[in-house]
Amino acid sequence: MSATFMGDCSVLENRKLARDTYLLRLAASELAAGGRPGMFVMVRTGPDPEKGGSPLLKRPFGLHRIGPDGEVSLLYRVVGVGTGLLSQVRPGEKLEILGPLGHGFDTDVKAASAYLVGGGMGLAPLLALAEDLHRRGVEVTVFYGEREGAYVLAEDHLALFPGRMVVTTEDGAAGRQGLVTAPLAEALAAQAAPVLACGPKPMLAAVAGIANEFCVPCQVSLEASMACGMGACLGCVTSHAQGGYRRVCVEGPVFEAEEIKW
């Protein structure tokens, strides 16, 4: 086990990419060194809780991009107090970070191509993943779904993803109208390939169902409320197909779809 980093990282950029959605670039060579696609970090988003600051708990965010040059990027959406405070951080300020943590994607997919599926902020870990697979010579197609067009990331940022990018929105304001599962199913019907997905649980359940139908391997990255992020609190568990629970922060966040009790 490589040592986990715990300390302050300098903010290089904190830029809005879409409605409520930000790209946070950090100078973080320690995170870049140990980070693998699908792993995450815990970020202190507000003033120091040891001095009375709130929120109390760190917030988990997937590694959006690992590198270049010891940089690590996070992609996040403002949904509450912590992410709201994060959106106010300015370049040059420091953020207390713990990570990289968790069990990431298995990028040794043993296939010539792969389908990546991201729902909303589930897109976050897929850039690091797509770049990794691309380096391994795997042809990547990313299916990226949002509820409304306003949430779809800026063109120039989506252009960073290697391979093909298929955007869907429920309101039809950007890309194809509908759910992200529709083009995925079509693609699988045309050509089988392993599926790697991240997003809200109902979406992941649907994706896992489709992958199962087409008999392709499927990895899913789950979300959960977390306190410690390091396996101690048992707060982040998900139901396991074989009974009992598994910790999303240690055994996950990435699981084989069949491990999960949907």
Partner: protein, 307 residues
């Protein structure tokens, strides 16, 4: 040169090198924190509560944040006595940790069976009895809400083992002193308090409780004033040492508990916020004692002067 203060403390025949312990359920079995806290540096490691058989715990969501606090409804998920002794205890002993095993049960017999098992296992230095579990035989209120039920558990455990016993009190009672006295009379060598306070959070969007279990335990800075009050009330009413728990985030918090009468303290939720919290607190306590010329713990413990 300032003499290094002696922070050792005697708890029920066991001597700890310092008064900083982990709180059960917030430090795993020690190994999770190995990168940050060498277990031998702590006064003692209190392990996650164990039951006779493994428990799966409650369905998720199990935690959520509240103002200056958090709720958890882990539901006492644990590996069970056997796996604890086989898989968890040896690592802690190799590391040279003083181990306090926290135990829980649905009925008095489960507690005594656990104590017996731990006693036979060797390697456990003290048992902490969590009496905040529903007393199934008596309708589901926690053992710890009733002096007699508390005493029954402690008495049974006392019979089952010669190990030092620490009884961890439940905060949500009208008269903590009577429960504390009952636990001591039944054989507790040490009292620890407080456990979490039953509480709840509501999600207005889904119109459901945030936790799948509806109710969870409140911990963190929010409960510190309640914990301080209970520790103060208990420490001045019993003759055994008291271990303070509840919202301890900093050395200053720890020192406040010592003043209020705690002979040692446990660090809980703070471990989640700063995995090095226990070491930072210990360093801060040492510094305070050195800077204030306090030779040992007795120079501060219980020295609160009321107005």
């Amino acid at each position: 040169m300032v003499k290094k203060p002696d922070l050792s403390v005697k708890l029920g025949g066991l001597t700890l090198k310092n008064p900083v312990m982990s709180a059960s359920g917030t430090f795993g079995y020690g190994q999770e924190f190995a990168e940050y806290v060498p277990p031998a540096m702590m006064g003692a490691v209190v392990t996650k509560g164990i039951s006779l058989k493994p428990r799966h715990g409650n369905p998720p969501p199990r935690i959520c944040e509240t103002p200056a606090g958090m709720l958890n409804s882990i539901g006492l998920e644990n590996v069970g006595l056997e796996a604890f002794v086989r898989d968890k205890l040896p690592w802690l002993k190799e590391q040279g940790a003083v181990v306090v095993a926290n135990i829980l049960g649905d009925q008095v017999d489960e507690y005594s069976a656990l104590a017996e098992g731990l006693d036979h296992s060797g390697g456990v230095d003290m048992i902490e009895i969590n009496v905040s579990c529903p007393n199934v035989a008596a309708g589901g209120l926690a053992f710890g809400t009733d002096p007699e039920a508390t005493a029954a558990v402690v008495r049974a455990v006392r019979k089952a083992t010669g190990l030092p016993l620490m009884c961890k009190l439940t905060p949500m009672v009208a008269d903590i002193v009577s429960v504390a006295r009952a636990a001591v009379a039944a054989g507790a060598d040490v009292l620890s308090l407080i456990n979490t306070i039953p509480a709840m959070a509501v999600d207005l969007k889904t119109r459901k409780p945030v936790l799948a279990n509806t109710i969870g335990g409140l911990s963190g800075p929010a409960i510190k004033p309640v914990a301080l009050r209970l520790v103060w009330q208990v420490a001045r009413s019993v003759k055994v040492p008291v271990v303070g728990i509840g919202g301890i985030m900093t050395a200053q918090d720890a020192l406040e508990f010592l003043l209020a009468g705690a002979s040692a303290i446990q660090v809980g939720t703070a471990n989640f916020i700063n995995p090095r919290a226990a070491m930072d607190i210990l360093a801060g306590v040492e510094k305070y004692f050195a800077e204030n010329g306090l030779p040992d713990l007795s120079a501060l413990v219980g020295r609160l002067e009321t107005h």
